[in-house]
C-alpha cells in the first residue's frame, strides 16, 4: 500500500542541502519524494503555514535504561518521549544492566524499538566487556548487528593501551568510538564541579582537568590511530581549547554538548538539589562562555541531551548518594532555543544542522536531511509557541528534570517518522 503525505507552506530548513525557504515537502512511501512548490493532491495534507519543517531531529546520546532499569525508563517510554520532543532518531548508550556488549544485546534494543513503533532507536555498544576497560568487546559482530558506535559511556576507558587498541581495532569497521572523558583517579569521588561551591557546600569536587587530561590523551591516541573519535558531553573551557587545536590539525574528531552544560552552572547545586547532580558536572560561567564560543565557531558537531532518567526515590537521597543525571529529552529543543538561538549564537538553520545532519554523520546513518530519496523523517516546529515545562506531563517515566516550570519557546507540532505521523501536538 502506498502512502502520500504532503506538508504545505512551511518554512523548510534543510541545512545539508542549503535550503531555507517557504515551500512544500512530499513524502511517498516512507521516502522524501520532493521539496519545492508542489501543486498535486495527496492522501494526507498538513498545513504548516508559519511553522518550521525540518529534518527529523536526532539525539545521539540518551539513556533508555533497558535492559535492567525498566522502572526508570524503557525503550517504549523513552521512544514516546523522543517523538513528542521531535526526535525521529536517538542513540541509546550501552550502560544498561547488563551492558549492551554483544550482537544479541544490539538486536534486543532494535526489537524493543520496533515494538514501540515511535522513533528510530539506535544503540552504541560497549568498547570493553562489562564496560570494565580491560578486554575489547565484540565490536565486529555488534557493528554487523547495527551498532552505530562504541563507548563505555559513564566510564571512560582509563588504560591508554586499551584505548589505543580499541581505536585501532575500530578502524576495520569505519565506526565511531565515543568517550566519556574523565580520568577516574583524578576525579576521585567528586559529585559536582571542584571550586568555590564544592568548598562551601562541603562536597567532593571533580576538577575540570579530570575531563581535559583524558581528552588530551585521546586526541594524541587518535593522532596515532587515525580513526573516528567522538568526545561526549564536553563541559570545560579547557576541552574547547583542546578540540580547537585538534580540529585545526584535521583529526577525525567530533564532539557534543548538552543543554545543562550550556544553561546551568555549579551554583545551581547550592541547595543540594540532586536534580542538578550530573556527570560531567555543571561548571562555571567561564566554561559556558567557552562552549558558546565553540558552538558559534562550528567546533561543536552535535547537540545532545544525555537524557538520564532516574527514579524520584533515588533523587530524593542525600546529594552524595543520589545518582548522576538529568532527564531533559522532552524539553530539549526549547532548551537549545534558549541557550543558543535567543542569544543569537546560532540561527534556526545552524541549530537544526547540529540536531540532524551533523549528528547523523557522526553515527554514519543516512538521515538528517530532506534530500530526495532520503528517509521520510520530518519534524514540524512552531518556532514562536511558548510553553511551560511540566514534568507531570512527561511521557518519560522519570521526573528528574531541573527545568520544571521554565518557559521555553519552540514547540514540536508534529513528528513524522518514515512518512508516518508518530506524534501530533493537537491529538
Amino acid at each position: 500500500m502506498s502512502s502520500e503525505l504532503l506538508i504545505k507552506n512551511g518554512r523548510v530548513i534543510d541545512p545539508a542541502n542549503g535550503i531555507d525557504k517557504e515551500c512544500d515537502v512530499l513524502i511517498l512511501d516512507e521516502k522524501i519524494a520532493e521539496v519545492g512548490k508542489i501543486e498535486k493532491k495527496a492522501q494526507t495534507v498538513i498545513d504548516a503555514t508559519g511553522k518550521l519543517v525540518v529534518p527529523g531531529l536526532i539525539d545521539i546520546h540518551v539513556h533508555f535504561r533497558e535492559p535492567g532499569d525498566e522502572e526508570e525508563e524503557t525503550i517504549a517510554s523513552g521512544s514516546s518521549a523522543a517523538v513528542a520532543a521531535g526526535f525521529t532518531s536517538v542513540v541509546c548508550m550501552p550502560n544498561t544492566r547488563p551492558p549492551i556488549e554483544n550482537e544479541t544485546d544490539i538486536e534486543y534494543v532494535h526489537r524493543k524499538a520496533r515494538q514501540a513503533r515511535k522513533t528510530h532507536v539506535y544503540t552504541m555498544g560497549a568498547i570493553t566487556k562489562n564496560r570494565e576497560g580491560v578486554e575489547l568487546a565484540e565490536m565486529g559482530f555488534m557493528a554487523e548487528a547495527g551498532a552505530v558506535g562504541f563507548t563505555d559511556d559513564g566510564n571512560g576507558v582509563q588504560d591508554p593501551a586499551v584505548m589505543l587498541r580499541a581505536l585501532k581495532y575500530a578502524a576495520m569497521f569505519d565506526i565511531v568510538i565515543a568517550q566519556h572523558c574523565q580520568n577516574n583517579g583524578f576525579a576521585g569521588n567528586g559529585v559536582m564541579n571542584a571550586g568555590y561551591y564544592s568548598t562551601i557546600l562541603g562536597l567532593p569536587g571533580t576538577d575540570a582537568m579530570a575531563e581535559e587530561m583524558m581528552l588530551w590523551r585521546d586526541i594524541e591516541l587518535v593522532r596515532k590511530a587515525n580513526v573516528r573519535y567522538h568526545a561526549q558531553h564536553i563541559s570545560t573551557a579547557g576541552s574547547v581549547e583542546l578540540l580547537r587545536a585538534a580540529k585545526k590539525d584535521s583529526l577525525p574528531i567530533t564532539c557534543e554538548v548538552t543543554p545543562h552544560n550550556l544553561l546551568l552552572t555549579e551554583q545551581c547545586c547550592a541547595e543540594y538539589d540532586t536534580n542538578y547532580k550530573v556527570n560531567p558536572p555543571l561548571r562555571t560561567e567561564k566554561d559556558i562562555e567557552a562552549l558558546n564560543q565553540a558552538v558559534s565557531e562550528g567546533l561543536v558537531d552535535a547537540l545532545v541531551t544525555d537524557h538520564a532518567p532516574h527514579l524520584q526515590s533515588e533523587k530524593e537521597l542525600e546529594f552524595l548518594a543520589a545518582p548522576f543525571g538529568i532527564a531533559s529529552l522532552e524539553c530539549a529543543l526549547g532548551l537549545y532555543v534558549k541557550a543558543l538561538l535567543e542569544p543569537g549564537i546560532l540561527d534556526w538553520s545552524g541549530l537544526i544542522e547540529l540536531m540532524s545532519a551533523r549528528p547523523a554523520k557522526i553515527i554514519g546513518v543516512d538521515r538528517g536531511t530532506l534530500g530526495k530519496g532520503k528517509q521520510g523523517d520530518v519534524t514540524i516546529i512552531d518556532p514562536d509557541a511558548e510553553y511551560k515545562v511540566d514534568i507531570t506531563r512527561f511521557r518519560s517515566k522519570s521526573r528528574n528534570c531541573p527545568y520544571n516550570g521554565w518557559k521555553l519557546k519552540g514547540q514540536v507540532e508534529k513528528t513524522i517518522v518514515g512518512g508516518e505521523i508518530r506524534f501530533s501536538a493537537d491529538s
Binding site: 576521585g188 568555590y196 568548598t199 562541603g202 569536587g205 552524595l320 545518582p323
Partner: protein, 319 residues
C-alpha cells in the same frame, strides 16, 4: 524571664538552623545573647526551665558522636522537652530505608524538632525541605557544624569580650572540617580575622574566595594570633595520604609546648574534640592554663539550649 528582654533587637524567624553561612552577624549575636541567659540555669540547683515542655526533640544521629549528642540531649531535657534517641549508621547506598523515609516515620510519631548529624553534606537541608518539624544541623559531612561554630564564638566572646579585631588561627585538616567552615562564617561575620593553617593538601579549593587568610606555616602564625583552634585530623574522611606521616604532620602543625612559648601569653587554645593527644596538640598544652577546651564543652550546652529555644519559638509561630 530574662530571655524575653534580650530579644528586643531582633525577632528570630528561622525554624531551622542549617548553617552559619546564611546567618547575619545580628542573628549570630542574638543566639549568643540568648545562650547567655540560659547559661545560668546550669548553675542552679534545679537545672531545668519549662519552655519546651510537651515538645519532642529527636536526636537523629547517623554518625558517631558522644559530645554533641549528649550535649543536645541534655540541653533539650533542661528545657523540659522529651528526647528520643535515634542512632543509625548512614547507608551511603540506595539500599535500605532512605533518610526521608526515616524522618517521615519519626514525624508521624509527632515530633517537633529534629537534631540531625549525617555524613552527607546537605542532609539537614534535604530534611528541612521535606518535613514540618524544625531541623537543627548537628554536623553534616564537611559542610557545617553550626552549634560548634556558635559555641566557639560564644567562648571567645565570653573571655575576650568581643571578636572584633581578633586574630584567630584554625589549624589542621581544613578541607574535611565542618568545624572550620562554621567557625569561619561565624568568626568573620563577627569581625575577627581568620587564618586557615595547614598543609596545602588539606586546604580546600578556591579558598581565596572565602573570608579567610591562608598560611602553611604554624610557626609564622603562632606569634600573631589571639586564639588558636586546633582541629582533629579526620582520618575517616581523608582520601589518599595528604601528608606523608603523622610524625611529619605533628612536626609542622602540632601545638607543642615549644611552640606555645612563642605565642601571646593570653592566647586561647581551643579544640572541638575529640583530642588526639600528642598528634595535633600536646597534652601539656591541652590541659594547660591557656586551654579553654572544657569551657567550650560547657558553653556548648547553653548555646544548644538557645538554639533549641529559638527554633522551637519560630516553629510555633510558623504553625
Amino acid at each position: 524571664m530574662a530571655l524575653k528582654r534580650k530579644s528586643k533587637q531582633l525577632r528570630w524567624r528561622r525554624k531551622h538552623l542549617l548553617g552559619l553561612r546564611e546567618l547575619s552577624a545580628e542573628e549570630i549575636t542574638h543566639i549568643l545573647d540568648t545562650a547567655k541567659g540560659f547559661a545560668q540555669i546550669s548553675t542552679r540547683s534545679v537545672k531545668k526551665a519549662p519552655p519546651l515542655r510537651g515538645k519532642v526533640v529527636v536526636n537523629l544521629f547517623f554518625e558517631d558522636s558522644t559530645r554533641t549528642r549528649n550535649s543536645f540531649a541534655l540541653a533539650a531535657s533542661r528545657l523540659s522537652a522529651d528526647v528520643v534517641e535515634f542512632t543509625k549508621k548512614a547507608s551511603s547506598v540506595t539500599k535500605g530505608e532512605t533518610l526521608l523515609d526515616t524522618a517521615k516515620n519519626l514525624e508521624a510519631m509527632g515530633i517537633d524538632i529534629v537534631v540531625i548529624r549525617h555524613s552527607a553534606a546537605g542532609a539537614p537541608r534535604l530534611l528541612s525541605r521535606n518535613i514540618n518539624a524544625g531541623v537543627i544541623n548537628a554536623g553534616d559531612g564537611y559542610c557545617e557544624h553550626p552549634t560548634q561554630g556558635l559555641l566557639d564564638v560564644y567562648t571567645i566572646r565570653k573571655i575576650k569580650g568581643t571578636l572584633e579585631g581578633l586574630k584567630i588561627a584554625i589549624v589542621g585538616d581544613i578541607a574535611h572540617s565542618r568545624v572550620a567552615r562554621s567557625d569561619m562564617w561565624a568568626m568573620s561575620k563577627l569581625g575577627a580575622e581568620v587564618t586557615f593553617v595547614g598543609p596545602p593538601t588539606l586546604i580546600p579549593g578556591e579558598v581565596d574566595k572565602l573570608p579567610v587568610k591562608v598560611s602553611y606555616s604554624l610557626d609564622e602564625v603562632i606569634e600573631k594570633v589571639d586564639v588558636i583552634n586546633m582541629l582533629r585530623i579526620q582520618f575517616e574522611r581523608l582520601g589518599g595520604n595528604p601528608f606523608p606521616s603523622v610524625r611529619e604532620y605533628s612536626h609542622y602543625f602540632g601545638l607543642t609546648v615549644e611552640r606555645m612559648k612563642r605565642a601571646k601569653p593570653d592566647i586561647l587554645v581551643m579544640h572541638p574534640g575529640p583530642i588526639n593527644r600528642g598528634l595535633e596538640i600536646e597534652s601539656e598544652v591541652a590541659d594547660g592554663s591557656n586551654s579553654v577546651i572544657l569551657e567550650q564543652v560547657k558553653n556548648g550546652l547553653a548555646v544548644r539550649m538557645a538554639v533549641l529555644f529559638l527554633v522551637n519559638q519560630a516553629a510555633a509561630q510558623a504553625d
